[in-house]
Symmetry: C2
Subunit: 341 residues, 2 copies
Amino acid sequence: MNQDNSRIILAHGNGGKLQADLLANWIFPEWGGVVLPADRDSQIMPWSSSQLVMSTDSFVVDPLFFPGGDIGHLAVCGTTNDLAMSGAEPRFLMCSFILEEGLPLNDLRRVARSIGQVARELKLQIVGGDLKVVERGKGDGMFINTSGVGCLRGGKTPGPERLRPGQRVLVSGDLGRHGLVVLLSREGIQFTSELQSDCAPLWPAVRALQDAAIDLKCLRDLTRGGLATALHELAQSSGQSFLIHENHLPLLEPARGACEVLGIEAVYLASEGTMLVVVDEEDVAPTLEILRARSGHQLACEIGQVVSTNPDLGPETRLQAEWGAPRRLGPLLYEALPRIC
Amino acid sequence: MNQDNSRIILAHGNGGKLQADLLANWIFPEWGGVVLPADRDSQIMPWSSSQLVMSTDSFVVDPLFFPGGDIGHLAVCGTTNDLAMSGAEPRFLMCSFILEEGLPLNDLRRVARSIGQVARELKLQIVGGDLKVVERGKGDGMFINTSGVGCLRGGKTPGPERLRPGQRVLVSGDLGRHGLVVLLSREGIQFTSELQSDCAPLWPAVRALQDAAIDLKCLRDLTRGGLATALHELAQSSGQSFLIHENHLPLLEPARGACEVLGIEAVYLASEGTMLVVVDEEDVAPTLEILRARSGHQLACEIGQVVSTNPDLGPETRLQAEWGAPRRLGPLLYEALPRIC
């Protein structure tokens, strides 16, 4: 059969010999030390905890490669970050590809390499996966689904049900870089070379905070919809409200500039390595000290607090500018920026 | 905003208010009794076993709806069947959608309904999910990923490492219907109205066999690549060989006719509710009795046996026709039929 053997063909998706060869030659070598043999339909793993923490995400980011990361890096970070937000140590990952016919095999290998690197960094095991191929024009290069299982660790589990007025709201780093970088890459805008996606695993920072016995009341990563949407969801599920100080929000100078030029509100931009951390007042200083000592979290700071809800207004998030009355922040409504993750 | 509000738009994928409304109005009502609230990034579930069984699959079947099932039904069956093949009871499911802009919301609801029905039938809990939207022309209506966690049950775990010469190879029903039905639907061929996909959950049958204390040596569902590919993989991972009798293979008459007319070998066609069951000789009769008493498994039968491997040839599967020497069956090579699951 005469064909370009540097690209994905439909037969790679058939579950037969060509798929087995593709996995053996292009994917599994990049997953050395973290992938388990795939000689059964499902994988059996030992488990010693009385609870499971589970999360799943599909990734359709466009472009596949962007400054600071790629779809594979993003997928492992996104799914393990969701586990970390429950205070769970990520343990097992399953990884499933939907490839478009014609995808360069080298792109697949680069992405597999990123997945392997983050998995090794987090001591994850890749215990299962799947690979499908769709015809040219029926997909967009590569979509990835990652599903993770984690193990609860630390004291009380962080969650919206533990939010109370008076608690302090912190962010673990500067905001909005991932969303901006994807937007600028996609549009081919050469804005500045300094701006890179913040995409990174959050579990090491959460673990460090647990090790210091910080009582983490609530954690939330700031992905799709950004800070505003995360706070809106937390308000809805907890019944509490938030007051956030706009001039406390940490933004890198080039990000602030890009937002101004493009007319984008940073509170709606996605981060992929930045989380909201809610703690009691006395835990603010040690939390910030631990975070700022870690790469990627130097700009961690307090941005506001949990406040009691006005029964007439219901749970809400208010953003206080330097002057004037605070304005109410809604969740993201219409899509400014599709496919950022 | 002026738009057709019966279809998926990009903003449904933004993780904001429109997505929340879509889930609340079009998906969660169909998952009543099986879906858990989604107010955190990851779900925490109780677990009482010392092992986890995990599986993940992405589904890209074309068309989305076919005689006997749809992509949602197929997804839950496919993932829970993989768990059942390890003798595990499916417990938790995560379900992630990649939708193409313009998909009719009614199609999404029909698929969600199928997922809810199978989940209820299996007493599964849907503990997490995700939903992304890609632009028109960058997907194909709907792709679904399902990931499942199950709990080992029964005595020894079935697996290729338990295969030994002399054991008997059974199939739990007739072969190839799913693959044929998808092919015929896609090509718009009106072959016969009798042919429906065999897509169905296999866990109830596996559980019935466990309850009867049948020692299940090995189980494998016959999806992509069909019987021939499943046997090839089992031979490779076990080092054992198989001898299969072609005239024992159960095929419905219209399926046999369609294969002849279309020039397709039934052993490479996918089934989605039929499994290979390997047992000792003395367990053949009770296994077939239990299977045949169940809907969908009336044509269960013995098709061959595990045989010792010729060291010169290596592990192989041979297909014995009514006369002549047996021929060697390879795995599926080039794709005859993409996107059957």
